[in-house]
Symmetry: C3
Subunit: 171 residues, 3 copies
Amino acid sequence: MSVTLVLGGARSGKSAFAQAAAEIVAKARGATPVMIVTAQAFDTEMEERIARHQVDRGDAWTTLEAPMDLVAALRGLPPGAVAVVDCLTLWLTNLMLAECDLSSAATRLVDAIVEFDGELWLVSNEVGWGVVPDNALARRFRDEAGRLHQALARAADAVHLVAAGLSLRMK
Amino acid sequence: MSVTLVLGGARSGKSAFAQAAAEIVAKARGATPVMIVTAQAFDTEMEERIARHQVDRGDAWTTLEAPMDLVAALRGLPPGAVAVVDCLTLWLTNLMLAECDLSSAATRLVDAIVEFDGELWLVSNEVGWGVVPDNALARRFRDEAGRLHQALARAADAVHLVAAGLSLRMK
Amino acid sequence: MSVTLVLGGARSGKSAFAQAAAEIVAKARGATPVMIVTAQAFDTEMEERIARHQVDRGDAWTTLEAPMDLVAALRGLPPGAVAVVDCLTLWLTNLMLAECDLSSAATRLVDAIVEFDGELWLVSNEVGWGVVPDNALARRFRDEAGRLHQALARAADAVHLVAAGLSLRMK
């Protein structure tokens, strides 16, 4: 049983990398992979993005929506499940907008991942490689995302950094 | 004959990396390397940047300007040419400002690269590692740049990620 | 005697990486490691950030503040010192706000590093991997940061790129 963190920039191919890896493992086990989607459609742009992702995946996947309670979604999966969470930066955005306690949410997610009995890929955006953002909320967001990535990387069995559809294994 | 994609952040040394590699190959062949510039000077800041790049290169290079029709520039080169395209993110910007069909332009560029009979380095900026930009045009731009990089990386023989003048080979 | 450049995004764990490395070397030598802090607290947000960093370090470190004159701070250390500079992007920001000549400051810093008689880690933020910033000052800042990183990487014995608390050795 293993957990893989897949990091990368926007449109880096990180989701496709995680999906391809999960599909190979799921096929070998005769299992149906589970896509745990954290996106919430607040506007047309986001609706189109979610719909495009679903079309890209096809019918071979089961889809769960978990914009906030990712821990419950992970704990609800049967032993030996093959799952992808896409993506953690949107989950973090949802928690921030709902004014949740991000530190305790991160701790609970790490606990759920350590206990996870299956094969799990966690997809998340690198967001801290640009100039310091103008507004305080964006600065706080990238701080929280960075801390979350560090905590997850410590707990994960493998960490990949993806650019242009290619991965660098960092752990 | 080979195609190398050179990715990196702003001022990462990616252009210098591509130029140095092309100069070595050109020298070995007794050829004059060709710099295909995609920049368009809309303002003084950009004019100065283009001029500084030309001074940095010296007289050992032939320079072609191809802000839009990169495919024609590549097809116009003689067999065995040694060339650098610098850079694809500016080319993409030019196409977006001219409201071109980016998807078909990317497809045609990939086709031209696959057919290219020579040694080619393609320089492009990573732009998707920061927080989500405020404006929709910037978000669309980084999506298109990410897709283009993935398509080019699939077609390229080698892909390098450059930071602080140092390269990580990803393919 | 060696100099290591540690690059990474915001909250990537680059400071912790440099500190952990310095602590190991300092312990082996029976030396007290020196933290050279470049941050200046202009507001509450920055004060809290500096205070959190100091708490994270504990009492095992000596702290020097050098928001501007980093060269004097480095030259003032005794031979064989074990030191971390955190971070160079803040130092660059301080110089820009004070309208210093950045090019000559960078040259003098590189000279001081080459002459440094001890073990030194230089921490700096990658800032050029996002979309082009809206304002000219931010664009100039990322150009200067990129140039500085290239110059330091040439002079350094080792260069690490850190993401999610994990490092990729680039040199």
